[in-house]
Chain length 282, copies 2
């Protein structure tokens, strides 16, 4: 199934919540070993806790790479497990390169037999750095999320630089929309090419939604980073589809006690309810 | 020793050549197994062949990630081996993220006991996405190379967008220079903060050199991508220091026969001679 159709189906069945898997050994809850084995147990426990209420999980590669090759082994095991639970699996790697190197990244994460459904991609290198990922999207029913306007404080250093009447991230949004229209799903309204648009810049989100009508949004910055459900809702299409909202720490570490799975499940349900309520008003 | 001092010492002892380690199983030469074990043997054989004539090696993470966690295991083994041979080890990962995620990448590759000396970094996220790497540079004597103007055809999609009287990559160059002056080496002329500036855009290289006088350049695009020694020389400082020039395919795959090590050594010596001749004329 085309990535956009799978994503939308999964959102309809569950909610627009994406749970970021950012496992940090020092933060692992009570009852979990403080080592790589514990990281795996924790991620699997979180997946079990949230699979009924979240559309997607987003394992963050950096936290697994920090644990060396053993961490990468756990990363792929966690992705396989999430895939079996029918979650949309988004590898957050912000990969970027050109030519045959970019093809290596694309095959590494978006290959035919990969448990990963989509990968985040950084666009500094231009279309050469995106085309090989798009090829795998088309061939293997995968997706990408291109960074457009990120949630961090200094995102404007580059992304808000003025180019004539617009700014860099608006220009990037138009490029992403032009790529997106080449890879539309069966319903024709959404693409396999998505965008990362932070919830912490609501005005920008509203405008970027109009510039990228065919682009699924991955919205970080909700919760711990300060974005509200109302802010995140600005990234949805008028019919309430077309976006998922990520939360990591507020779900993963909702409790440090033995009730961490219950707490993660509850935090996911609360977030889902908050989002669905606000989106329904659109 | 500060990264810039170590780099310059190594260039003086050998040459400004950096050998890119982009191992592709299908391209491995005669006598090497066509599997992950072969990738390791090949990389180690190349390191042995070039260590006397090259300042640095640049293992490209994508090619190791393509081989899954076993590939990552080989990646770290290859880095350890290169480090023992006293080469400058530059991990080409183009990593980028923010906050605690960026810190995880920084600790993963630029930690105190890491065999890696420097990492390539993509600046789309602004200074938040660079500061954690700079902290490790300061603390652990490591370096980074920030993408400024890349060697590929579509690099202008974003990097050449006009901002007032300048373009994005010129603006980025000024940011990189401002970061660089915070992390100067013992001699005070070069920083641990470097820049990637492609040899395929000579006019831009010449100007970028003036915008970033304290920044070591990592220059890709030589050889297979079309950049000449004359083009690459534009990235050096007037005294002939301050840059390394990367070649991957033209050295790695100089011969597909049993003489691949000899051929790689010869290609490195030839490149070194070409560069030193042109730099001497500056």
């Amino acid at each position: 199934m085309h990535y956009a159709d799978f994503l939308q189906q999964r959102i309809t069945e569950t909610s627009p919540v994406c749970v970021g898997l950012d496992p940090v050994i020092a933060k692992l809850p009570e009852g979990i070993a403080k080592d790589i084995g514990g990281v795996k147990d924790f991620c699997i426990g979180i997946i079990d806790a949230v699979a009924a209420d979240a559309a997607a999980v987003k394992p963050q590669l950096a936290y697994f790479e920090l644990l060396g090759w053993e961490g990468m082994k756990v990363f792929f095991e966690v992705c396989e497990y999430a895939k079996k639970k029918n979650l949309v699996v988004i590898a957050d790697g912000k990969r970027n390169d050109i030519g045959s190197t970019c093809e290596a990244y694309a095959d590494a994460y978006l290959g035919k037999n990969s448990p990963i459904d989509a990968l985040t991609v950084t666009p500094y290198l231009g279309s050469d750095g995106v085309a090989p990922f798009m090829e795998r999207c088309a061939k293997n029913d995968k997706g990408i999320y291109v960074l457009v306007k990120t949630s961090n404080e200094s995102s404007g250093d580059l992304q808000d630089l003025p180019i004539g009447d617009e700014v860099v991230h608006e220009h990037m949004a138009q490029l992403v929309e032009s790529w997106a229209t080449q890879l539309l799903g069966a319903k024709g309204n959404l693409s396999a090419v998505g965008a990362v648009v932070g919830a912490t810049y609501p005005e920008e989100s509203r405008y970027l939604r109009t510039l990228m009508p065919h682009v699924p949004f991955l919205i970080p910055g909700y919760g711990a980073q300060g974005g509200t459900a109302e802010d995140a809702a600005l990234g949805f299409l008028p019919d309430g589809t077309g976006a998922i909202v990520n939360a990591s720490r507020s779900i993963l570490y909702a409790s440090k006690g033995k009730d961490w799975q219950e707490a993660a499940s509850k935090a996911t349900k609360t977030m889902s309810n908050e989002l669905l309520k606000v989106i329904a008003k659109k």
